[in-house]
Symmetry: C2
Subunit: 270 residues, 2 copies
């Protein structure tokens, strides 16, 4: 069964503020240690693989995991650790960078909608439409009236998805500014990771407080009954991985996908 | 290093006939037994994960695995076994069923082109544009002049992909008619697999010889220097999995993707 304590601890109830500043980014969520987390993650990934297979077989509903967080908060790592071990046939990852080309010739939800999972799939958004509120606001890419009205679009867009069979799990990976500093420095110092570093990341780092404030607001505005947010303490990678896996497994267990019934009688094949 | 014997044994040289009827569908390709195959597959999947990470980091080229074969030849199984363990962020699976809706309002390569992998990705086609030659011919869905001219389109389409940085690995999973019978019967008898069975599969089974003849011809016509076919004996699942993994690892090793060089000097992050 799902760890309902972990789920409650991370969930932002509709209407509530996430209170990012008051949350401990290195919380263990009741997990004893790294070893316990590894055992638990292995079990969760196995269950996830099984449930995903049933979701795929059922072929009528889908799951969408939306991952947001500051640079180096562990979005890539969470995807790698939770979904490596799950059949890629039923998974679809979309990574959203700054929109360009044809994307700019449409509204900001156009490319998002196009990347939503097929029925039977688990879709994973590595960044998402939330950049069009948060980053656009903090980097002043559009005037206030433009980003101010977007949370309403998003709530209603997510309601459409939910009504039509896409169950959404929205996760904010929460780290401290000091932890980000460490991780970016590591990227720079490790020859295998150096390529991931973009000097522009430092511009966003200087706007840390503005980003936190923008996330605080948009999470409050868009945590709904049909698409709630979860704030996951992400300073310890092993806590982060277990939490993301647990949220997905809990979601799928509640969906309880069923194998379709065959529409034919017994047959002997010649 | 790659097992060049396995690669040579499966490869159809440009201009050659694949001689499907003369190939042993339960060949071991020199692999001693199931245990040896398991050890080797584990090693190959590890290398595949590493190489895929570098392909992703490099971000300029891509790999496309095209999987074809009769019903129950193991396309789904090969994808699950070879790619579970590879980061889904750099993989993209497209499964092509009979075209419908908007797909039918375009030429047959339109949906194929749209599903090609992004730079840095490994794309996997579970069935492909080859259905538009083989199935269309055997099921008489279009007159002969229509499917007759398609291999030329396909050769040139694949040349475009190759020229623009997509390295293609085309695999025909080869089983015998008797093996298909066994596997379809298993699907029927196993409650977890029953949903996969479609009574229509039996119609294709009755056309076994026509399908083999159509594959024989199209493989000969489309095995090119830039996109060669490999016929993999797929009766033993462990041989099939090792062969597919080996072909991919060999391809990626020859591509030798490189981590991008950072464009900046040493930095200390504050």
């Amino acid at each position: 069964m799902a760890d309902s304590k972990l789920i409650r601890a991370t969930r932002v109830e509709p209407g509530d503020r996430p209170r990012l500043g008051a949350r401990d980014t290195s919380d263990r969520l009741g997990i004893a240690d790294k070893q316990a987390a590894a055992t638990r993650l292995e079990d969760l990934v196995g269950r996830l693989a099984l449930l995903q297979n049933r979701l795929w077989a059922e072929g009528t509903r889908s799951v969408l995991l939306v991952l947001q967080g500051m640079d180096a908060s562990g979005k890539d790592g969470a995807i790698r650790r939770v979904f490596t071990g799950v059949n890629p046939m039923g998974c679809r990852v979309a990574a959203f960078k700054a929109p360009a080309g044809v994307e700019l010739r449409h509204d900001y939800l156009w490319r998002i909608h196009a990347a939503c999972p097929d029925r039977g799939q688990i879709g994973i958004f590595n960044r998402s439409h939330y950049e069009d509120v948060v980053a656009v606001r903090v980097r002043k890419l559009a005037p206030e009236p433009v980003w101010k009205r977007r949370p309403r679009h998003i709530r209603e867009f997510e309601r459409l998805l939910a009504d039509e069979g896409t169950v959404q799990v929205k996760v904010f990976l929460h780290i401290s500014s000091e932890e980000q500093r460490k991780r970016l420095q590591e990227r720079l110092d490790d020859p295998e990771k150096r390529w991931k570093f973009r000097p522009e990341d430092l511009d966003d780092r200087r706007l840390w407080d503005e980003f936190q404030a923008a996330y605080e607001e948009v999470i409050r505005e868009t945590s709904t009954d049909w698409a709630p947010w979860h704030v996951v303490p992400a300073e310890r990678k092993w806590v982060r991985n277990v939490a993301v896996a647990e949220l997905l497994v809990d979601t799928l267990e509640r969906m309880d996908p069923q194998l379709p019934r065959p529409t034919f009688e017994e047959l002997t094949i010649e």
